[in-house]
């Protein structure tokens, strides 16, 4: 991470990373599939947390509400690792390849979330609905994180995410009413 911050993501080679970590360049790839994944190392654990949280929600709860509650809960973790998160996201937002990889990983999250929602609904809804909800939820998270970074982390993340979920649920069709 320090190397990325000093020389930029593109300006840092695998060779340099390996040297800094005291391993052979070849060994790097037994820890990370791509260079981008170094910046996004926390992603894999994050998905498990979200799925666990989602599994803890009562079956009776509406899907969107369950998603909202789960993500707000996980966002509290984000706050705990605040400084690290800021470093990672700063690098990410400065580099298109890292952001692209982030989106790709989130596509995996979408698959997993849609799957859980479909199983939860148990035939009550179609797969399109599950997909849509999962995809929209991740849109909330991305928008929140972006805003959080751009505004210098003023508003706490859980608040932002809660707000975004709320807006999508209530405010879209008739904004003039709000």
């Amino acid at each position: 991470m320090a190397l990325f911050e000093e020389h930029g993501f593109d300006g840092t080679t695998i060779e340099q990373i390996a040297a800094a970590a005291d391993i052979a360049p070849r060994t790097f790839f037994s820890y990370f599939p791509t260079k981008e994944d170094v910046v996004l190392a926390d992603y894999s654990g994050r998905l498990e947390r979200i799925l666990a949280e989602l599994g803890r929600r009562p079956e009776s709860e509406a899907p969107w509400d369950a998603l909202q509650a789960s993500f707000v809960e996980v966002a509290a973790d984000y706050e705990a690792a605040r400084d690290d998160l800021i470093r990672r996201f700063t690098i990410m937002s400065a580099n298109a390849a890292v952001y692209a990889r982030s989106l790709q990983l989130q596509a995996g999250w979408e698959d997993a979330l849609a799957d859980v929602l479909s199983r939860r609904a148990n035939g009550t809804t179609d797969d399109l609905e599950s997909r849509l909800l999962a995809s929209a939820a991740l849109a909330c998270v991305r928008s929140s994180l972006r805003h959080w970074l751009l505004t210098g982390h003023a508003t706490p993340l859980p608040t932002l995410i809660d707000d975004c979920f709320g807006r999508l649920a209530d405010g879209l069709a008739h904004q003039d009413r709000a």
Copy 2:
């Protein structure tokens, strides 16, 4: 495209593409920035269409309704190029790198859409709201396209997209009511 379909995306090299197109390998890169962009060649024009359509909507219209109307309109174009679209999306959904590139390009769309929405709102809303709407709209499009492909293009695309926008606007908070 024929090469991709025969040998797969990864199994096709720039050299082969260049040979098929009767150009030097080096020249390929003056037409496409990456190999992935061959499959997504229609993306650049598509954004302009969407922005044009969005610019044509009345200022009084609620942002979400304007987005919905614009995308439904552009989806009609999709139907016109139906077979070509199916070929491209089939390749895309079979290859993670192409899908990642697609998401990256859509991130550019999101920027542009959020920008237009912010300017449209003229201070009535914050940037977070614009982002969120743009991001959610693209989530609708992706979910619709995916469903359209998986179900063998049974339902027309404009119908699917219209439906997704409608669901996000109305159905999220209180699905038990529906």
